[in-house]
Symmetry: C2
Subunit: 216 residues, 2 copies
Amino acid sequence: MSEQRVAPADAGAVDGRLLRGARSRRAIARHAVDVASVEGLTALSIGRLAGDLGISKSGVQALFGSKENLQLAAVEAARETFLAEVLRPARAAAPGVARLRALVERWIAYVESPLYPGGCFRVANLSEFDSRPGPVRDALARDTRDWQATLAAELRRAAAAGETAADLDAELVAFQIDAVLCAANTALRLGDDQVVDKVRRVLDALLSAPAAGAAR
Amino acid sequence: MSEQRVAPADAGAVDGRLLRGARSRRAIARHAVDVASVEGLTALSIGRLAGDLGISKSGVQALFGSKENLQLAAVEAARETFLAEVLRPARAAAPGVARLRALVERWIAYVESPLYPGGCFRVANLSEFDSRPGPVRDALARDTRDWQATLAAELRRAAAAGETAADLDAELVAFQIDAVLCAANTALRLGDDQVVDKVRRVLDALLSAPAAGAAR
DNA sequence: GAACTAACTGTACGATCGGACGTATTGTTT
DNA sequence: AAACAATACGTCCGATCGTACAGTTAGTTC
């Protein structure tokens, strides 16, 4: 595999071939995310992808080597998009409750957007791979762990700053928030628009109620 | 389609052919549920199903007419299993909080059981079909609505009996419980056993905290 | 017993899948 | 200029998919 071999020791003199390949891989992976968000990573087909992008099936095959590698590249591309659309913008908000609310709001906007007809890539594909051991499942599981850890970390900051109850169980509340967001993603696909309000109300309750989510 | 044409007006004189067909359909649909719980309703293949059960591919085809009909039959079979494994046993508990806890405990047992390697059929397949309009999506969405409605109804009974806060928002809490259960289903697939405790703690918090989940 | 119906089999078709070549093109290195 | 490396293409393969169709077997109805 020749993955991301760009940017060598002497910057400026990058290999034009690798650069071109990286660009192609990127474009393919991005489109793969869109397709897989709606139809799933399994239904993803190399031939269909090539047809959509107007390139040859063999080209895609040569760039990724195998379908599993293509799936992994899609997971990675989705991860980067999530980083850029949710995590990075929310970092502008102050740590603690404010950033937590920003994360949730960015997540809602990210999932609600008509740009992503299939909703959250991770949610759509994790339940497809959760019973199928392999590198794809591992990658998706890692994303889930990271996301919940991000929420938990912000919850701990909020608790430390006295913005929430001091005895708040960060991991448990993070688990709840993620659960509600995933459920909201599905509900939105089914046409339930009221679910966004529900998410906000749940978040309010979790952050304000000193007893809720606390390990007693 | 000759769906469930058994049990005519004069009971006792059932058509043996239809009875046999119904039995075959049942057996196939049951196995389809097992397969689809792990690999999804899309990955379900008529040929594979026939091979597993030792019957001819054409036989399956003739019994269901199309793959979509087979998928719908699987959804129906899963619904009946869920009814028998979760809803019906929980009805032994007293209405209100007791039955609510019974429902959740039965759900956990149902999902944790090694008999169901793919976990909850609905959870596994809804996220696969939520972006794909059609009768299969509608059937799965109906199951979800019914399940949340069952939870909400029990919550209302609990509130009316004074077992929880009177101003508890039944629909919102039902949404939360379902969300947490679905997340737990996925977490269990990923090998996280602690999630069962998390579910119980969340349920405790939701039922005891008067403020949590209330519309204020 | 004859006509009919439903369950089931066997075979075949067109489409699509992932993957395995061999080859041409383009860019890099020596 | 020569050797090499990476992208990209065209073609072919075996496997599997859903479905259609003709035919056989078993049970019902007249």
